[in-house]
Symmetry: C2
């Protein structure tokens, strides 16, 4: 391990993952917890619990904790302002965690942090114009313009999962009032829903058999069966990938990025998701943006958010040290 150690925490709509990360971005112990979506107290306890487990398992002293949260963050106070899938809005998250953990705490939006990790050391390395989609329970988004994360007028930019791709589409989830957004059609939640329908419709398939045996039809199961050659499972991933391609076409036409990076748990499906997405972009987006853009999986895969949170912690303690030397 390198000389300094932090903990990076990715707080998703379903899972909390805290990883011990050194300066070479090698990840040691990973602690996972379910994310309680209906209780603020339970959510905070689960977060503290995951960080404590990771900290106890770290061979070196932990110097800071970085958090990626699926929320708009008020950066001046470290307070999540809104939160689609978790009950974290309005609480002084950074101050509270810092007090509970006795460590410096740095907080940003999870997708912004995933994009940071990918632009510094991953699939978007060196890009000046990039977009990131993190596909898990929901769909998070991050934007990089002229080499900098773009936050909009008051820091709320990048809600790419809540762009409408089907104005008559299904209602979105959590606190989102929209319908037909990308999240309602191409998130892990949508993948599981489409997978359940496909399982019901094809009892002779591996997917159908899993349902009959009482297994829960999750994105992970669909991906596993599709990778094993089950056709209905593959078709469900292709459907989700095609919808994703509609959203990526919008990013390409509107923003002309060099690269669109796809992360989050669902990217475990890799090319089963990306190939149909690229085909959709090829058929919809405008030249020359369409011909320039690369559409790629996150180098850090589903861990991009956690690695980005760790990077944010390293940069936070560096900035604090610089400020201290100046003072």
């Amino acid at each position: 391990m390198g000389e300094r150690t932090v903990i990076g925490v990715d707080i998703g709509g379903t899972k909390i993952i805290a990883g011990v990360v050194d300066e070479r971005l090698e990840v040691g112990h990973r602690a996972a917890r379910a994310a309680p979506s209906h209780s603020q107290v339970a959510a905070l306890e689960a977060i503290v619990d995951a960080v404590s487990e990771a900290r106890a398992a770290s061979p070196d002293p932990v110097q800071a904790v970085g958090f990626g949260i699926p929320s708009l963050i008020d950066q001046t106070r470290g307070v999540p302002v809104t939160s689609i899938n978790l009950q974290l809005a309005g609480i002084p998250f950074a101050a509270l965690m810092s007090e509970r953990l006795g460590l410096p705490v740095f907080v940003d939006n999870d997708a912004n942090l995933a994009l940071l990790a990918e632009q510094r050391h991953g699939a978007a390395r060196g890009a000046q114009h990039a977009a990131m989609l993190t596909i898990g329970t929901g769909i998070g988004g991050g934007l990089l313009f002229n080499g900098e994360v773009y936050r909009g007028a008051i820091g709320a930019a990048g809600e790419l999962g809540h762009m409408v791709i089907d104005q008559n589409g299904p209602p979105c989830q959590g606190n989102c009032p929209n319908h037909g957004c990308l999240e309602s059609l191409a998130s892990g939640t949508a993948l599981a829903r489409e997978g359940l329908w496909a399982a019901e419709a094809t009892p002779d398939s591996a997917l159908g058999a899993a349902l009959l045996q009482g297994e829960e039809i999750t994105g992970a199961l669909i991906t596993e069966l599709a990778l094993g050659g089950d056709r209905p499972a593959g078709e469900v991933l292709a459907l989700i990938g095609t919808r994703l391609g509609v959203g990526i076409s919008n990013l390409v036409n509107m923003l002309n990025p060099e690269v669109v990076v796809i992360g989050g748990g669902v990217i475990a499906a890799g090319e089963l998701l990306l190939a149909p997405a690229r085909a959709e972009v090829a058929s919809r987006a405008l030249a020359p943006s369409r011909d320039l853009v690369r559409i790629v999986a996150a180098s850090f895969g589903p861990e991009a958010g956690m690695i980005g949170a760790a990077l944010h912690a390293f940069e936070g303690i560096d900035a604090a040290a610089t400020a201290g030397r100046r003072a």
Copy 2:
């Protein structure tokens, strides 16, 4: 009139408008021509003709010409790279016009120039984060981030009219391979199409009567009848406004702008279009972006593109003069 005079030219999918503009942005003579969409030679002749008429009518010598073109522009050479509704791609437009007119020529994307006019002197005055939609035959787009027009990796950003809002929607027009884009559902072309259907369905309405009398159902006619109280005409505008609101919701969620400015010929309908658009944004977009954003008509109305082209010409001759003093 002020001391310097330029000509601003807005080249739309249907109309070319050349206006004599002074430094106070007062517009003198306006010359209009139909835009021939199927012949490059005819399009260039019509443009030269409009500029020549405006120049002949100018009380003062014209010092430069600014052009707004519905194309991605290669700024290093003044060459339109792509063009959805006109046959201008690939020709050395700036050099050719400069030679034909014997005047300095400055070229940019039409919607970028409309946004420039609105941000400097109009509805987005002083905004650092803004988006503009220019709704005519097609839908153009412009983006302003951190006070600067955003052009993306290679200058092709801002094709906001080609964001999909209905993945199963109708084919787009011109050279756009997409379907269900905002342009296919909420442009002036879509407005006329929906108006025709409404006229056929309601022969007793003013709109239906106009059709029976052999009038062409245009956006201008629909707007005129709706402003006069004809219900089917008003409903058609509300439908287009609602669809526009879906696209604006996407801009709000993705980019968190302070203001979204709507220009182009169709904005002559004003609140008949904007009120339903705002209602749709209120029901779909996320707080706090939704509560912050202003959705307003272009101060320069359908002339924002022409005024922006004139501003671009003034700034072009200023920059050339500065460069000359430095050399």
